[in-house]
Every structure is written in C-alpha cells, then in structure tokens.
Symmetry: C2
Subunit: 468 residues, 2 copies
C-alpha cells in the first residue's frame, strides 16, 4: 500500500504500529452489531496524545475518516468504518495515570479496561460505579464515547455522572482540556458532558479524569420469581413508589432465564415467567433493612418465591449470570440483536407487553431483560440474518419497538448509542429541529466530517410505515 | 417609544406585559453584581412558549439582543443588558406543571422559585437537592442557566445532575425538546447538559423536567470551632479521606463569622478563627453514626469545640445563618463582591491561605466562606466602588485569586457562572483552543449573536499582570 497519508502516518508511529494488510483489517471491519461491516484502509496504534495529534493533522489534511475504537463491543455499529479510513486503537494507551485519594479521582488513558478501573479502586476502598455488562472487555474510552450505563445505574447513574475532565484531540489536530479534579466548574460551556456519549464524532478522547466515591460497605442480593410479567413490573413501580432506591433492579423474562440457566447453571427458576434481581448496597444495617422492605413488596405484588443470597459467592453467581444474558442468548441462533429502547420507568409493564405483542405480530423470537429500574429494556432477537425474509420481519419488529418507546415518552437508545444502526431513527426522538441543531453542532466541531462519519446522522430519516 | 419591533412585540403580549419607560427599565439594568449596569430597550413578560417563540422570531428579524432574566441574583453580571435589547421575564411562567411520583420527576416553568419546588416536593416525601443560598428568591430558570450549586453539593451534586429534559426556544425561534422523564437517554448529543449552565447564550429555556429523589429520613448538624484555618482545612481532607460524604461541609472564616453573628445572632463563636458547619442526612441510625465519626475527626484535627444541634430548630438556625453570609457581609460596606474560585478539595487550605495573603498584599478586606467539601470558596470583598483607587486594588486582588485557583488545578467559577464579569478570564481556564471551540459552538446555536450577547465571551482576554 503506497498511499501518501499511510506513509506519513507510518513515520509517526513506526511500521509495527500501523496495519494495512486486508487480512489484518478484517478484524476491525465490524463490531458487536450484526449486519454492519466495512473495511478500514488502515489501523493504527499510537502511543500518546502527541502522536494522535499528528495523526489527526494528517487525516485533516487528506480528509481521511477517523474511527476511534475500544474493544469493539458496540451494539449500534458505532465503530464500523462505514466510509473506510483509519481505525485508531488505544491498546498502547492503556495506563492508569493517577489515583488521587484526597480528591477521589482516577486519571486514565482511554485504553484501560473498565473492570480494571473498578478492581483497582476497590482495592483502595473506592468505587467506580458504571458497570456495563461488557465491562470485563470494554475500554473506558469506549464507555465514555457511548455514555455506557450498567446494572448499577438506578442508584449511581451512568458514565457521564463520573467524568470530571477530558483531554480531547479535535478534528483539526488541536488539543483541549475540559473540566478537572473539580466537584464544580461552570467556566463556559460544559464540553465534558458534550463529549461524553458523542460516539467519536466530535473529537478523540485521549485522557479522562473520573470521579470516584467511597466503596459501599456491604451488599444484599435478592431474587424474586413471578408467574406473570405484569406482577414483576408492578413490583418495580411499587419499589420506587415506596422511596426505595436499590443499587440494582433487573428484569429477566422467561426466554432469557432459560438461556442464562442453560449457559451458567446457577439455579434460576426456568419455569418462572419473569424474575427480578434486586441488590442494595451501603452500611450493612441499611442494606439489610432495605432488602427486607423490598422482599415484602415483592411478596405483596405476587412473587411466587423470593430468595436472599446467603453468601457473596451465591450473590456473585446470580449477578454474573445476569451479565451473561447476551452471550447466553447468542448461543441460541446464528444472529443476535440486542436493543435498548428505554421508557419512563412507569411504562415498563406496558413496554414489555408491547414487545411481546410485536414479536408475535411479526413471528420473531424476542427475549427481554434489562434495567427495569431505569426503564431501560434489552429486547433481544435471536435470528439468522441469512434468512432474508425473516430478517425483514425482525427489522420491522424493531422499528415498531422504537416507535412504541417514543410513543410512551421514551427514547430509541438508553445506553448503547445511535451509531450507524439507529441513525435513521434519531429524528423520531429529537425531532427535525433537534436533529438540525445536532448537525450544526457536529459541523462546528468537525467541519470536514472526518470524525467517525456516518454515525449518529443518517442520510435520511426512516419513514414510519405502519403494518397493520 | 415607537420602534417597529417594540410595536410588533406589543401585539404579541399586549401593552400591559411590555415595559419601555426608562423609570421601569432601570430595575432591569443590573443584577446582584456591583459595577455592571446597562439599560435594556424593553422588558417583556410572555405567558407561554408560543409567545416566546414569536418574540424570538421578531428579535431574530431585527437583530435585537435577548436577555432572559430570573430574579436577578446573578453574581457575575450574567443578566445585565450589556448591549441593550429585550429583557425577558418569566413572572407569568411560574407554574409547576406536573409532579410524577412514579417516575420521580417534576416538570416546571422557568419562573418557579427554587424554594417552592423544594417545599412542594418535600410535602410528598421527595427531594430536590440543589440549594443555592439565594433559593428563596432565585428562579429555577436562572438556576438551570447558571448550573447553580449550593450547600448540599458535596453529597448530591448541582443543578445539572437534576435536569432530565428541557424545552428550549432557539435563536431562530424554533423550539426543541431534549431528554425526557428518562433515567437514561443517549439519542444524539446531550443538548440538555449543554444548555444547563449556558447562561442564556444558546437559547431560552421555557420548560424543564427535573429529577427528584426520596427525601432523606433525618438530618444531623454539627458545628466545629477552630483556632486556626489550617486545622479546619485539614479536617475537611480527613473527612473525605475517611470515606465520609456529608450532605454539607461548609467553611466559614472569622470575618464572616462575626458578620453573620451580628446579622443573625445564633450564637456563633466570634472569637474562632474558623468554623465548619457539617450536616449528614439519611436514615437516623446512619446519620448519627456518620456525625459521631465526623465529630471524632474534627477533635482529632484540633477543633477547640464541637456542638451537635439538639433540635431541628437549632440546626435550622445554624443553616440559615450560613445562608445569610452574603447579606451579612453586605451590611459592612457600600459594595460587596462575592467570588467563587474553586480548587480541587485537597487544595482548600492552600487556597484559603493564598486568599488571605493576597488580601494583605493589596490591603483589601476579604472574608472567606464556602463549600469546602467541593473546594468551592466564596472570597468576599467588602469595599466601596466609589473609591477608585481601592477598587483597582480589589480588582487586582481578584485577578490574583483567579490565577492562584487555576495554578492549583482549579477554575475561575464553581457555581456563579462567567457572565460579563469573568469573561476576560475564561481563557485562563479553558485555553485558547477551548475558548475557540466554545465560540464556534455559540455560533452554531446563535449565528447572529442575539442570545445574551457579551456574556461568557469577552472582546479580549485579560493579560496577566503580575504585581510583585
């Protein structure tokens, strides 16, 4: 490959840190999203911000698309090189730079694995709460770009609630620093929050200061089993209405329970219509008190069985079983699509029922689990994309699901991002003017559209075709 | 007054809701910031979003500056009509539209008084934590535009942590809706967070959905007295290092103690060099446990006296006394300037000492109090702006304070905003490229610069002149 820009990039990082052979590029042509694939022209692994700055300047000069990529666990085709270009990897920028126990912050490079952050700070009695299911392989850079959520979101919020400051390389190769080790900062626009969740379309995050909190002293885990989805959903509402804020409040329907139990054999009740996995953390006396109250509420709302984990081993097994839901469902069929339509939490029961009706209408298999306390569901379709006729029905089903979520005051994505996959639906949520404003904002940051192009913004919005 | 645009505006709202007489305009020519004043051309009180939409369309057509104004408690000249134009008041848009106890949200118009929100939701066992000292008169619209903080920030965060969704009229008169009653939403850029703290320079907020949380069950209040500022600051560090997160952790120095005690007579120790006002909320057993631990820490770090409030009346008096600090200091002299330089909390002791040194260097009176747990201090200068020579020394002192805060990894403003007053210093914090990016962002939203012009962005950055 003799492209001038590739030669210039090679001079910056050295031959061993840039790949251009097709056999090497294929691995970076897709992420965890089925049916989206495109070859990049090159893949580069810079060692520091200064190299990234130089790389971006070259891409800016030659108008080369840049796709920053963590571990590729994205579920909305956020890291596919849609227009070719240069994939930037952060495998060499994977250091924890600083843990500040006075200011309760950790400063990291984008390539650090999320779980490494959690474990490192927990060893010091501190806590980084955002815990996407992929946390054992996902990078913090990817989490920040997608504003990842997780199981602890109800009580502790999501990634954006923990990003205090960023170093960002802009599309013109200039570097900015936002925020700092500061609990409060209102000096100008909140560029930190704007960058979080911007999916690599506004700049490249090269360093992050994250907020930590004290590690909760203990945790209680409860599994409640139901013979009806509605009763489980009612329980969720009653927990909130009773002023409880559990750390975790997960919903798992029967198809997911079966798949997870097959996969991990932790003793989930496979004949149940639904289970709720509920955890509370904090001082022991308080966590126990809350779980006792919540257990009562689950019984009052028709749980046929409740089980409080008697050991951390047991609790850990339940928690990890839930985290394997995607992997477990993925074993059932050649193709798995995991969605994350989100609704106001009061609409969880309506939404779960709607998803089931939609699955029946289009004769497709959809299992549903997710963060019920956040109204964030993961309807997951097991299918085979080689079956074109079924694939069309799957797409129509998800279109109905997005429309229903919006109708209930919800959104097309709660924590996975828009990426390329949901870009035709963004206008459904944000409206024509909202989309226009976002495009203008993108243009202000990236006038030549080299930063992860074709993500968030589609060529055109999907027209809603109602099949009756 | 026969200006065409005024006539067109009058047609929209009716004569009784637009003021153009100079005698009426003077009241809107300044806010709570000394030495900034400019007359608007007109002041308007629309009744709903649709009227605001029409008003903005007229201002867009005639290029009229628009200054949205709450109660005018801004301390950085954020609501002065620097270039004249139209002040928009929200006195007729002061309704609570919805309290949703299932989704834990409240939907409000911008003119609602912050304290009204707090009291209304507390009656339902719910909690809206942001509590700026001005909360009894400030509006929620002003709080959102400034991303206001308050005494409960250490544990509960600031306004931006509670804004879930907004309705905004853009500079071209179009209306957008952001977010929703949603715990999670990553559909496109986070325009909600971008609008919060944008000081009316990107659009006009006409409605807000705010997050509520369950009301803490109880509260404990502790006053710790010190004979040295350093010991008080060390205590702050030790509380954080011991993994305590009190609801409130306020620092008050001797000059402030004296002024507050004169003003409110609650029995503060006027001979103390500093006091810490510390509160913890939550379940009673937990709040009591934490306050007991914290009381021990205060003693270990040299508090000469500690006092736990024995009743809510006593606690309330202490809390309210702290809230009166600005009013109390304002009685001491014709002019009071309250600043809010903010540093990483580990630097509180260094910063307080630096402020005192700077006050001595320029021979000016500066009292300091503030949110020590957040690193957010309020050095407050009592002076007389008619004394030009002293005024120059005051300005040089504050310039030194900003520079010192930045040097310590801090910021020029923690919760008051940039406004017109701090705009010449913004580049010190965000850098040349950061400022440039913010200007491009402003231009994307407001190409004709009609939205609160001359705020955030100065004609030129203040050159740092070091006086030795």
């Amino acid at each position: 490959m003799s492209k001038t820009w590739v030669n210039e990039l090679t001079e910056i990082v050295g031959e061993e840190h840039i790949q251009t052979k097709k056999s090497s590029l294929i691995a970076y042509s897709f992420d965890a999203t089925p049916n989206f694939q495109a070859l990049p022209d090159a893949v580069i692994s810079p060692k520091n911000t200064d190299e990234i700055k130089q790389i971006v300047q070259i891409c800016y000069k030659y108008n080369i698309p840049i796709i920053p990529r963590g571990s590729g666990t994205n579920l909305a085709a956020g890291t596919t090189p849609t227009q070719g270009g240069l994939v930037i990897l952060f495998t060499r920028m994977n250091k924890i730079l600083d843990i500040d126990e006075e200011n309760l912050t950790i400063t990291v490079q984008p390539g650090v694995i999320t779980d490494t952050i959690c474990q490192t700070v927990e060893a010091k009695g501190l806590f980084y709460p955002p815990d996407p299911s992929s946390m054992k392989i996902s990078t913090i850079g990817g989490n920040i770009n997608e504003n990842s959520g997780g199981l602890r979101g109800l009580k502790y919020g999501v990634t954006k609630d923990y990003v205090l400051g960023l170093e960002v390389v802009l599309s013109n190769g200039e570097v900015i620093q936002t925020g700092g080790k500061l609990a409060k900062d209102v000096a100008g626009y909140d560029l930190t929050s704007l960058m979080v969740g911007s999916e690599g379309t506004l700049g490249i995050i090269t360093e992050a200061i994250l907020k930590l909190i004290p590690l909760p002293e203990s945790k209680q885990t409860l599994l409640a089993t139901y013979d009806s989805i509605e009763k489980a959903a009612e329980t969720v509402s009653s927990i909130i209405a009773n002023k409880m804020t559990p750390e975790t409040l997960e919903f798992i329907d029967q198809p997911t329970i079966k798949a997870v139990e097959d996969f991990s054999q932790v003793g989930l009740p496979t004949n149940a219509e639904a289970v709720l996995l509920i955890e509370q953390d904090g001082p022991k006396m308080l966590a126990e008190r809350d779980i006792a109250i919540i257990e009562q509420l689950t019984s009052q709302h028709g749980a046929i069985n409740t089980q409080i984990a008697q050991s951390e081993t047991e609790a850990h097994a339940l928690r990890e079983a839930r985290r394997t839901a995607l992997s477990a469902l993925a074993k059932l069929s050649p193709t798995t699509i995991l969605e994350d339509a989100t609704v106001p939490r009061s609409e969880i029961a309506t939404m779960v029922k709607a998803i089931n009706d939609i699955a029946k209408k289009y004769n497709v298999n959809i299992a549903t689990f997710g963060h019920a306390g956040d109204g964030n569901l993961h309807p997951t379709c097991t299918t085979d994309l080689r079956d074109k006729e079924e694939w069309e029905r799957v797409e129509m089903a998800f279109e109905d699901i997005f429309a229903k979520a919006i109708e209930l005051g919800g959104t097309i994505t709660g924590e996975h991002g828009v990426g390329e996959m949901k870009s035709p639906y963004l206008e459904w949520k944000v409206g024509e003017q909202g989309l226009q404003m976002m495009k203008q904002l993108k243009h202000a940051f990236d006038p030549y559209n080299i930063m992860n192009p074709m993500k968030i913004f589609a060529k055109s919005t999907r027209k809603r075709v109602v099949v009756s």
